[in-house]
């Protein structure tokens, strides 16, 4: 069996950090905690954990919250993966932290098993999409996926398969269920999700940010 994943918890609520540590305790190795942007950036660069569980809103730095932490650790993103963990439903929060470079976004109400699975997935370099994030992507890129007059670049639209995967995630399917539903391997599902994440991060669609500001996921 693999050694437990080395993770850092970044959240400005001490109670939440303690709860998370207790919850994950046996299965991962929590090597550090931080509560502000500056603390987090310093700690992460120093200890280089495999996964950072990152809150979106926190004090410090220039007020950029979780997204700022990711941006400051841009040069170590190869080694350190960020999983955003938030209570916020604000689309702009999601977009900012994902576009900064986080590998996934889950809500704090997620169950322990799912969170551990998400940590594992992120550590492997794949992306973690909650149903809500998938719904958000579908809404932002267009749910139909059947783009007729393709004018934008490759990055600005989803392939039919990616839309299908996103839709199944939004419907509450696990990667395993998606794989058997679409008759593909789990690895392929993960590849699709990672591709969508890349598109979400790199897309030049300026509408994406504006869209996120105007809209709220519920």
């Amino acid at each position: 069996m693999n050694p437990p994943r080395r993770i850092v918890i970044v959240d400005d609520h001490r109670i939440f950090r303690a709860g998370l540590r207790a919850e994950l305790g046996g299965s991962v190795d929590v090597i550090g905690e931080a509560s502000t942007v500056d603390e987090a950036a310093d700690l992460i660069r120093q200890v280089l954990p495999e996964v950072v569980l990152l809150d979106v809103h926190m004090p410090g730095g220039t007020g950029g919250g979780g997204a700022e932490v990711v941006k400051r650790c841009r040069d170590v993103l190869e080694k350190v993966k960020f999983l955003a963990l938030s209570v916020s439903d604000e689309a702009s929060d999601v977009v900012s932290v994902i576009r900064a470079g986080a590998r996934g976004y889950v809500t704090k109400t997620i169950g322990t098993e799912e969170l551990l699975a998400a940590v594992e997935t992120v550590a492997e370099g794949d992306a973690v999409f909650s149903p809500r994030l998938a719904g958000f992507v579908l809404d932002a890129f267009g749910a139909s996926g059947l783009v007729d007059n393709v004018r934008d670049e490759e990055l600005d639209r989803l392939s039919a398969r990616e839309v299908e995967v996103m839709r199944l995630i939004a419907r509450g399917y696990t990667y395993r269920e998606i794989a058997s539903e679409l008759f593909i391997s789990i690895k392929t599902v993960e590849t699709h999700v990672s591709k969508v994440l890349r598109k979400l991060q790199l897309s030049s669609r300026h509408e994406l940010t504006r869209w996120a500001e105007q809209r709220r996921i519920v």
Binding site: P131, A134, G135, G142, N149, R167, A170, G172, E177, E207
Partner: protein, 446 residues
């Protein structure tokens, strides 16, 4: 009656200009400060004005340096004073008005001097008198009369506008703002013209032009030096204003949290022996707070999304089982009754028999779809007994009757009910019934 004058240490209210007076409130403020009746102060000012304009100068001086009642002082915040600082001093000048013929005289004076019309009339009458005097052969240098009058008019116009800017609580409408701008510029022009006339009396026209040029250059230099400071001043005031707005918002949030969240937390502490009740309370509160935080701008438009959300919230509340709703797109149909009813039945089945449910609502250009997924033990859809009206009638039958279709997939890993309602051709041709969502146009651009 103990008069304030006899008091060994007379307690004087601070000198602040009154609000809501015809010109600037200097007289009223001064009368409150000194404890003399208003008309007396006014008459004194008029007499001083007639005596070579001293009264006017004094009036302007006080206008500039005495703050109005509404302007916050440095300590007002600390004292918790939010209203007019002198409200309780109001009746004081009236005390001195009581009784006797002097009171009547004062009252007459008050009515005479408090009305701007009468003051204006007085000014016009004196102008007329001057003209008459000139007709009768008295030599009058009009420049001595007109120039100060023009300057005074300009000053009055601009200064009264400053007062209004400070007393305004909320930002004025754009029309008002333009009017204010016009008023200030007009006043400035008047003052400038008066200055030029004065300067023209001292030096010749050629020198005047050269002087203006030099003055302009000097001013530009001065502006260059002072610019950073002025900009900083402006920014600071902006920041101040934003901070006040943020503070107001914070107070609003605090009030809301107190009304809802703290109450719920108190209830949770009382119910701590009943886990399901605690969970129900927490879920309900979470949903309420989320709705308040993230959807306060979204009006309940009765869209498909809103209706499904409402149904989910209701069932979640009733059965103490979380129901997560994710909605994508905006429906192009206006009637969702069969779809929402069927979805309700499906969610109800899930929370009753299987536990937490996730609902996915998707609206595309061709159909509205609702997927209700749970992770219960599942059942065989083909083996549904004829009398199980819930599934057969309320979900499948209802969807089929209204032109849609329902599919139930069930297995050991859970059940998914798929409800699909195609757009009727008649409706696809029409623009969406919902207010056009921002991303619809984006989608068409793709």
């Amino acid at each position: 009656m103990t008069t304030p004058a006899r008091d060994p240490v007379p307690h004087r209210p601070p000198l602040r200009r009154a609000v809501g007076t015809p010109i600037a409130g200097v007289c009223l403020g001064l009368s409150r400060h000194l404890g003399i009746s208003v008309p007396v102060v006014r008459v004194a000012f008029i007499l001083l004005t007639l005596a070579g304009g001293v009264g006017l100068l004094l009036y302007c001086w006080l206008w500039v340096f005495a703050p109005t009642e509404k302007e916050p002082t440095g300590t007002a915040g600390g004292r918790g004073l939010s209203g007019p600082a002198l409200a309780d001093q109001e009746p004081r000048p009236q005390d001195n008005l009581a009784g006797g013929s002097s009171a009547r005289l004062r009252r007459t004076l008050d009515t005479l001097t408090s009305s701007p019309e009468i003051l204006l009339g007085g000014v016009l009458v004196s102008v007329g008198a001057l003209m008459l005097a000139q007709l009768l052969g008295v030599g009058i240098d009009w420049r001595l009369v007109v120039v100060p009058a023009v300057a005074l008019g300009g000053v009055l116009l601009t200064w009264s506008q400053w007062d209004r800017i400070y007393s305004a609580q909320e930002p004025p409408a754009s029309g008002q703002r333009r009017a204010a701008l016009w008023q200030v510029s007009l006043g400035a022009c008047l003052v400038l013209v008066a200055m030029l006339i004065i300067a023209g009396g001292v030096v010749g026209p050629g020198e005047l032009i050269a002087g203006i040029t030099v003055g302009g250059i000097l001013l530009a230099g001065l502006a260059l030096v002072l610019a950073p400071w002025l900009i900083k001043l402006y920014r600071t005031s902006q920041v101040e204003r934003e901070r006040a707005a943020a503070e107001a918002e914070r107070a609003d949030i605090a009030a809301h949290l107190h009304d809802s969240v703290l109450q719920t937390l108190a209830m949770i502490q009382k119910q701590k022996s009943d886990p399901s009740e605690v969970e129900r309370l927490a879920r309900g509160q979470e949903r309420q707070l989320r709705a308040w935080l993230y959807r306060q701008n979204a009006q309940a438009t009765g869209t498909l999304k809103d209706q499904i959300l409402a149904v989910a919230a209701e069932l979640e509340e009733q059965h103490a089982v979380p129901v997560e709703v994710i909605a994508v797109g905006h429906s192009h149909q206006s009637q969702h009754e069969p779809l929402v009813a069927a979805a309700r039945e499906a969610i109800l089945n899930a929370v009753r028999h299987a536990g937490p449910a996730s609902v996915y609502v998707e609206s595309t250009d061709i159909e509205d779809a609702v997927f209700v997924r749970d992770r219960g033990p599942g059942f065989d859809p083909h083996a549904i007994a004829e009398d199980r009206m819930g599934v057969r009638e309320s979900i499948i039958g209802r969807m089929n009757r209204s032109g849609g279709r329902a599919t139930i997939r069930s297995g050991p890993a859970g059940t998914e009910v798929q409800l699909i309602m195609p757009l009727t051709p008649r409706q696809t041709g029409h623009p969406p019934a919902d207010p056009v969502p921002p991303h619809d146009s984006e989608r068409q651009q793709q």
